[in-house]
Symmetry: C4
Subunit: 238 residues, 4 copies
Amino acid sequence: MIAGLPGIGSVAWLAVNHLVKELNAELFAEIYSPAFSPKVWLTEEGTVKLVKGDFHFTQDKGSGDLVFFTASEQPYSPEGQYDLADRVLEFAEQLSVKRLITMGGLATDQITDTPKVHGGATDPALIGEVEEHGVLKLAGGSITGTNGLLFGLAKPRNIQAYCLLAETPGYLSFDANAARAVLQVICKIARVEVDMSNLEKQAKENRDAIERAKEASRAYGRTNSRKPPSDRDLSYVS
Amino acid sequence: MIAGLPGIGSVAWLAVNHLVKELNAELFAEIYSPAFSPKVWLTEEGTVKLVKGDFHFTQDKGSGDLVFFTASEQPYSPEGQYDLADRVLEFAEQLSVKRLITMGGLATDQITDTPKVHGGATDPALIGEVEEHGVLKLAGGSITGTNGLLFGLAKPRNIQAYCLLAETPGYLSFDANAARAVLQVICKIARVEVDMSNLEKQAKENRDAIERAKEASRAYGRTNSRKPPSDRDLSYVS
Amino acid sequence: MIAGLPGIGSVAWLAVNHLVKELNAELFAEIYSPAFSPKVWLTEEGTVKLVKGDFHFTQDKGSGDLVFFTASEQPYSPEGQYDLADRVLEFAEQLSVKRLITMGGLATDQITDTPKVHGGATDPALIGEVEEHGVLKLAGGSITGTNGLLFGLAKPRNIQAYCLLAETPGYLSFDANAARAVLQVICKIARVEVDMSNLEKQAKENRDAIERAKEASRAYGRTNSRKPPSDRDLSYVS
Amino acid sequence: MIAGLPGIGSVAWLAVNHLVKELNAELFAEIYSPAFSPKVWLTEEGTVKLVKGDFHFTQDKGSGDLVFFTASEQPYSPEGQYDLADRVLEFAEQLSVKRLITMGGLATDQITDTPKVHGGATDPALIGEVEEHGVLKLAGGSITGTNGLLFGLAKPRNIQAYCLLAETPGYLSFDANAARAVLQVICKIARVEVDMSNLEKQAKENRDAIERAKEASRAYGRTNSRKPPSDRDLSYVS
């Protein structure tokens, strides 16, 4: 299973969504939780979507079956983060998942063209494996949030797990560079090949959507506009 | 089921309560929750009322049976909002509810005599239906709070649902104009007719009650008044 | 059952504890809750006491058996207040309690020698009853906290309940005057007689204990004192 | 059982960890909780560790079997603290634990070479016993946090318990002096002998690790360093 929720630079979210798209993975399960924020989203067609986690899969292409997990947000409370991680891993066990890759960003306050990837694992042997793919060992420190908990809670369930953190400045909302760095390692571990050319495009689209939403909400405050709100990141409060 | 809890401009609360009154709907069930605020209300007669949600119904008048849900407040915690929405929908399922209309206000920062109504739904077909009644499609964006969750959580229970948001300035406590706009659409969908003349009166009464309560609590701080507190929105802390 | 938890002016706490002492009521049950604050108290003898609620009773002295409930604090979270009130009332039902009196303070920002008592009830008939004892009807308003919830949640359990609020300035920590005013009404309803002479002494002792604790903790900060902490309201953090 | 979680001056944490090391106690059980903070730690080898509580034991060396409990942090919420204390004591009952020693620091705002130890117990007889070992009776006051709750909740489970608080200035992060004072009493109660010479070394190592982590995170902000983060107290947010 390859799992990543939004976090610093949206590294994990960009990476997992890119894999899902490029590998044409199929949605086969959804997870709801009262630990997500109390709101719903509307599609461009006007239909409702709950905040939820999505499980996608692809069938064997030499690499065995792959399952992907992501969500549009992390639960906002600590207990909610533990609860979601636990439920995702329980489901992974039912699916007989043997290995889990989680990921995220490592804030360095520096822009770099070639972000390095740092990693830890549940077993020393797995660390040796990723070091062969150029990953630097995370020696000490802590990883906060649901991505870290998915990693740590995999251990008592006897699921082998890695956590890969790509260097990211920390102030970018969507860092395609860092997501690419993490994806290059994942592709080697999972033995899949993925075209990276749409990754920057996807990051740009997300940045633009946020920008448009900000402008739209400024417009509501200042002009006499009667246009219906149509930017996807705009929030109505009922 | 027509469901609306207090929110921006009290649009949903005004609309559902107006329907209950005008259609002489009968109270048949109540819902308590530790997620409501920890207080009780007193009636003008001095009897106690818990913070609660109320279910009313009217029998078939050409439109089929109608069930109404409202409450005096929204649960204050996100988990509480999910929990209440879930319990209301569970009960709706037991009542064999097939369609749900939720509603709210859409803050525009503008006063208008003819507030437009925007709407989303669980199915594209339903959106087409409300567009025929003059509703503008909500393309993108999010709806926060219990009204949004009632809307979104209806989907996995296979209850067809609409959410209608009337334009409201955002700074009015009771916006009868917005409530009327929403009610006009609801009446067309539910095929009922309702006299709107008391709606503004109701909004004014609520505004006045809040005004009186504010004056009364100012009076306590300044004068030697020994009058018992008698305004309904005045809060004692025991 | 006569129930009161600490609140404004400690009116309910003083009143219930006074009844327990003067009527030599016996402790027969205790209630623990994770909703109380996470600490323990030490007695003057150095033995540990959990934060808890206490149930005392007295056997029939013409008035029927009486059960008393109080606690050293109110749960700090809203859900905790609902939970405690619910568990106390569940226990009251098991004890076949038919009537419940809760109480509290009504902040007026005025000092008065003759604080009036205001009251509400679960039934209009009960209000008429307490009005005969000089209680002013609480027409409208809300009562916040566990004392209010005990009052309101009694209704769905078919326990007849009153809530009596004595006028108190709001800035006194222990208002014996207000407690006496409430006790005079309770004695009439419950048909018991209680000597009030120790009430002011009790309030003074509590005020003095708080004063000593404040001085002691100031002393720690300034002098070279090696004295063991011995004031009961001093808090250690381990 | 000898139990202590981090708190003022890390007195309890230092003391229990020192006993575990010096007595070569063996890890035999772990406790996870969603009430701990939502993060995982990495060892110097790059393997993951959940935030957890550890149970160690030593077999009879004249003192009977000894069980030790500690954790790397206290649950952050009050309910979490009650829940953890309750689960630890439930497990202690299953292990047929008869006596429990908890401990902590007592902030005095003074540095002293010879910190005194203050103590309370579940029974007056136990207080007499520790007074013979030079412990001063805690007469009144409260003890906040999980160490206090372990102490208090032992009583309804009929486990005899002591709580020993060593004087500590309050502003030291790791006070080996205070830990030694508490350990000297524990050794007398539990009839074990422990070499104290490594205690100050352990405290120094912890202080140094925090210092290095602070410098490292300052360095990230200022220099062009590409070094992987390697200090154990540095926190990544994924």
